[in-house]
C-alpha cells in the first residue's frame, strides 16, 4: 500500500459464534500478504475446500500497516456513523481510504467470485504518504537545467543540497 510496504504478515481465522466454547481456528496457513500501490492487499486462498456455516465469524488480520503521517480533522456525526462522504462533517476532501471491501478472485478465470458490501469499517483515513525531495543544485532531471558545471583542473564553488521540509 501507499505506506511503502510490499507485503504484510497476515493471519486468517474463523470462529463458530453458535458455540460458547469455540476458539478461533486458523483455516488458511498462508501468512504472506502481497500488496501494491492501489491500496489492495492480497492473500492466496486456502487449497483445502471449506464448508462454512452461517454462524462462522471470519477474521483477517493484517499486521504492520504503517501509520499515516498526518490526517484531517473530523467532527463526529450525530446522526450516523458513515460520515466520510458528509461534506458538512468532513469538508470537501477527495482522498479517502473509504470503507473496506473483501472480495475473492478466481485467477484462472480472472473474475471476481464474491464481493462484500463496501461497509466494512475503515480503520483510518489518509493512506497516501508523500515523500519529500532532496535536490542537488536545484537540478531538474526533466529538462537538465541547473546542471553542475566544472572546469577541469579545479573544483566548483559550494553547491547546495536542499531538503524539502513541507509536511504534506
Amino acid at each position: 500500500m501507499a505506506d511503502g510496504n510490499s507485503s504484510y504478515t497476515c493471519s486468517t481465522t474463523n470462529l463458530d459464534t453458535t458455540s460458547l466454547t469455540a476458539t478461533a481456528r486458523t483455516w488458511n496457513t498462508d501468512t504472506d500478504c502481497t500488496t501494491n500501490n492501489s491500496n489492495r492487499v492480497e492473500l492466496d486462498a486456502s487449497s483445502t475446500a471449506e464448508t462454512l456455516a452461517s454462524g462462522l465469524e471470519f477474521t483477517w488480520s493484517i499486521s504492520g500497516v504503517g501509520n499515516p503521517e498526518w490526517g484531517w480533522t473530523r467532527t463526529a456525526a450525530t446522526s450516523w456513523d458513515f460520515d466520510v462522504s458528509d461534506t458538512d462533517v468532513m469538508g470537501d476532501y477527495h482522498k479517502w481510504s473509504n470503507k473496506f471491501v473483501l472480495s475473492t478472485h478466481d485467477l484462472s478465470d480472472k473474475n471476481v467470485v464474491q464481493k462484500s458490501y463496501d461497509n466494512l469499517n475503515a480503520a483510518y483515513l489518509g493512506f497516501n504518504h508523500q515523500y519529500d525531495l532532496i535536490t542537488v543544485n536545484g537540478y531538474d532531471p526533466s529538462d537538465m537545467s541547473n546542471r553542475v558545471k566544472v572546469y577541469a583542473g579545479s573544483y566548483t564553488t559550494d553547491i547546495n543540497i536542499e531538503a524539502d521540509s513541507d509536511s504534506d
Binding site: 525531495l133 537540478y139 537538465m144 553542475v148 577541469a152 583542473g153 579545479s154 543540497i161 531538503a163 521540509s165
Partner: protein, 206 residues
C-alpha cells in the same frame, strides 16, 4: 527537515564515460554529506582532474535516513536526490584567478608585515604552488614567510608575510614589487596576480 538525520553518499554513475571515478571527485568537508534535523541545506563541491576530457557525467546518490523516534512517524521521509548531471569543461587556461591583498600601510624596517592574503574563488583539483619574488631581483634584506604557498583541493585563501630587515637600505628603493610565479599540476588553469607593490618606511622614533 523532517527526518532526524540523513547521510548522503555520492558515487560515480557506471553509465558515465570511461572511468571518471578517479578523475571526477566530490567533497563535502563542511557537512560530510550529513543533514541533521535542524538543517534544510548542506553543501558539497565537485572537481575534475585537469586531464579529464570534456563531457557529461553523472553522480549517483544514495541515502541513509534516521527517522524521528515516534510511533506515528514513518521511518522514511525522503527520496534520495536524482542523479546529478555534471558537465565537465576541458581545462581552460587562466580560467580562475588568484588575487593578492595589498598592504594598507608601509612595511616597517626591522619588522614583518601583517598577514597578506592570497585567494581564489575555486580551489584547484590537485595543487597549485605560488612562489614569491621581487621584480627588482633578490634582496637579502627582504624575505618571504613562507617562501611559497601551495593550494590544494580545500584551499581558497592562504597568507604570507614579508619581512624587511633592519639593515634594508631605504635610500636605494623605498618601494618594492612582489611578483608571483605558479607551478604545480593545475597551474595552467589559474592566472597569477600581476604584481603587488608595497612601500618600505623607517620605524617611527619617539
Amino acid at each position: 527537515m523532517q527526518a532526524k538525520k540523513i547521510v548522503l553518499e555520492a558515487t560515480a554513475n557506471s553509465r558515465s564515460r570511461t572511468n571518471p571515478e578517479s578523475k571526477l571527485a566530490w567533497t563535502s568537508e563542511a557537512f560530510a554529506y550529513t543533514f541533521y534535523q535542524e538543517y534544510t541545506m548542506i553543501t558539497f563541491r565537485v572537481g575534475a582532474d585537469k586531464t579529464l576530457s570534456k563531457g557529461l557525467y553523472f553522480i549517483n546518490w544514495s541515502k541513509t535516513e534516521t527517522g524521528q523516534a515516534s510511533s506515528t512517524s514513518p521511518t522514511t521521509h525522503y527520496h534520495h536526490p536524482a542523479r546529478t548531471l555534471v558537465e565537465v569543461v576541458a581545462a581552460v587556461t587562466n580560467k580562475w584567478a588568484f588575487t593578492c591583498e595589498t598592504l594598507g600601510s608601509s612595511a616597517i624596517k626591522g619588522t614583518s608585515t601583517p598577514d597578506i592574503g592570497l585567494s581564489t574563488t575555486n580551489s584547484p583539483f590537485s595543487d597549485v604552488q605560488i612562489t614569491f619574488a621581487l621584480s627588482a631581483g633578490t634582496n637579502s634584506s627582504i624575505t618571504f614567510d613562507p617562501t611559497s604557498l601551495t593550494f590544494g583541493p580545500n584551499d581558497l585563501k592562504k597568507y604570507f608575510r614579508i619581512a624587511v630587515a633592519a639593515d634594508y637600505d631605504i635610500s636605494t628603493a623605498s618601494q618594492q614589487i612582489v611578483t608571483f610565479t605558479d607551478s604545480g599540476t593545475d597551474a595552467d588553469v589559474y592566472s597569477m596576480p600581476n604584481s603587488m607593490t608595497f612601500s618600505i618606511a623607517e620605524a617611527a622614533e619617539d
